[in-house]
Symmetry: C4
Subunit: 219 residues, 4 copies
């Protein structure tokens, strides 16, 4: 008997498990690289008379470090949360995930800009706008991935309750609106923009809603 | 028959296993990044006539590298030790762990400051105070996590002997007191502060006490 | 009865699984390190009047970041694809893989050069040539590894259809020719060189051909 | 019936598996960080007229990168080889391993020094001496770990043939002697020192001797 064994097309795609492991690596590295953007202050330029004063003067770098650490940490936690809901992958889904990781890996740069220019009166507004824009990027990538995967239950668990799926769509969409608001607000008032962005980050410190399932088994 | 399957709230939280894997990543990265803070010396400024002299002159950077490497290495070993004792996680526990990792990731910065300013007579005191403060931070985060998890056996193995639990509470509390002593001592005498901090680190090179269990099974 | 148990020589070599895990680590780190080459712009030199202008002026760094991120991301995906086909390892195969990882780890450097000198009229051509050469290197290492492993089915799945094996040989060989074309084209016209290299990268965003197997079982 | 369940002291120590996973992380990070020490050349100082010339002029950095990459890569391969032989761990063994990883993580620094000062007539000798010393350090740590673990078969597989154990002791001891020779030779002639060190590294590219076992089962 002759036969042609053609591999399942799915086989040439990444499993969710493999994607999660790689993403965990990127999260861990990006979160740990943040500190490299804080350099020991140089006393030779004479701006600060003592090291203590110089170390205190770069407090915006510490704030930026903590804020970005918390943001990436929350994405890491939420990534595990959402990958319990994603059950399959396909090629476009994988590409969207690579785009999301690209945005996460980018975050140390706007963080460094924010840390460096927060106290510079003329550059502060641009620094905050750039930073909030840097926070908007992964939120957009996350939302696009969700929209693609949840559309007609394309890649998500079919047993999930429709109202729960709608709830997540609203939540992620609202995050995008709020980060965009932070970007726009920062044009008018940098402090307002930063407060919105930080408020949103700390709001995500609350536990995520546990998945809800349909009342009846899927026929 | 209709039914609503609501997922176990625990499901939306990280397991201890996942938390350990992510923490291991952060430990490995933070420990390896330490070397990036030692830069090849620049002979162009004419301070040192030979490369050999310049390489010897930055000996405080080597000492700071070894000390921080040992400290992070010990936290890594102890993290595995303590996660045999932690049996469950909850949301606040996870947040406390993220805070602990934030403190570990921060360590390369005070290490770089210590390496750069130890030999600077006017800045040495501030550098040591900042470094010992940097060592105090993860000790505080570790202690808070332990207090939260061990309170009424909230997240730890219920079979552990109460005296063993008290032993760890005392040990971790004492570490905090000693690191705080090092911070304060460094104000008066930088060498004393550094000796206390280094002594504490090397004390932790001794093997940890193996967990002790109750004489009788938990009813 | 006397016997000498000599370990299987294979035992002293790495398994494909171990090689994959280590490679994943290098991929994740190299991809995340790319951002470290984009530094917050310095306004002190007076070239740009505002931070916004300075952040926009380094757009080539963003393009280089995205391009190299995509290239490394694709290699990561393809690495998993090809390691479903590789079934054994031997010593020379492992060395070829180390050479491939050496080329991947090298990429952040030409990426930084491209970002820094794209807008410099006199250096742009050399920057693009160097970058396309940097992209050629891992393609060559990949091709050599494939040629070695697939020669007479040395290390690959024996059930694979010969035409499928030839297909991959042609595909990887063609990639080498195209990257080499990009290097040469960049001497004449940097834009042309970059367009070829970027086009090739984005072509690889298409899903890989699933493995095809022989019509008959291997005798 | 009353009973006291005291945990096995071994429980509070790391398993070889855990140690291997952490070491793999450190190897992968250290090997990938090497490239960060090669910075895009600065044309502003006018030393080199073209970018092409500047990129060629830093060829010692490329050589240093390749050499250190190969050295760390070989240690990674040998680490897996030797951990098939190590069967147990104890506290001192773990500390010796942390010391070994400290030496591996240190390597990017002498690599950067070698890359920067090879072409500097007055600093070249010191740079090579420092680099070969940097290569000696992990060899010493490796040898000490082996001596401790293999002494009276303390932590190694008891079935290994005594002559095989002696073979490894000689091999690792000889490596130490040769690296030390490279350090001393570099005082007289930097090129000679570097050739010995590089030759030793490339010698290790040959496959390791597979473990040999006793003729008779251990009684």
């Amino acid at each position: 008997m002759r036969f042609t064994r053609t591999a399942d097309p799915q086989d040439s795609e990444l499993t969710t498990q493999r994607l999660e492991a790689f993403s965990d690596g990127v999260f861990a590295i990006a979160i740990t690289l943040l500190i490299l953007d804080i350099r020991p202050p140089d006393l030779a330029d004479g701006v600060h008379k003592t090291l203590a004063a110089a170390l205190l003067a770069i407090w915006p770098s510490y704030v930026a470090y903590v804020l970005s650490f918390v943001v990436i940490g929350i994405y890491w936690v939420n990534h595990h949360y959402i990958f319990k809901i994603y059950q399959h992958t396909d090629h476009l889904f994988n590409l969207l995930n690579v785009f999301f990781l690209l945005c996460i890996s980018f975050l140390p740069f706007p963080t460094a800009v924010l840390g460096k220019y927060t106290l510079d009166a003329t550059a502060c507004q641009a620094a905050v706008t750039f930073y909030t824009f840097g926070l908007l990027l992964p939120a957009v990538a996350w939302f696009l991935t969700w929209l693609y995967a949840s559309h007609h239950y394309r890649l998500i668990d079919r047993r999930l309750a429709p109202e729960f799926v709608r709830h997540l769509t609203w939540q992620y969409g609202l995050s995008n609106v709020l980060y965009l608001t932070a970007v726009i607000a920062s044009w008018i008032n940098p402090v307002a923009g930063l407060v919105i962005a930080a408020g949103l980050a700390f709001l995500y410190l609350l536990p995520s809603k546990p998945p809800a399932y349909r009342d009846q088994p899927v026929p």
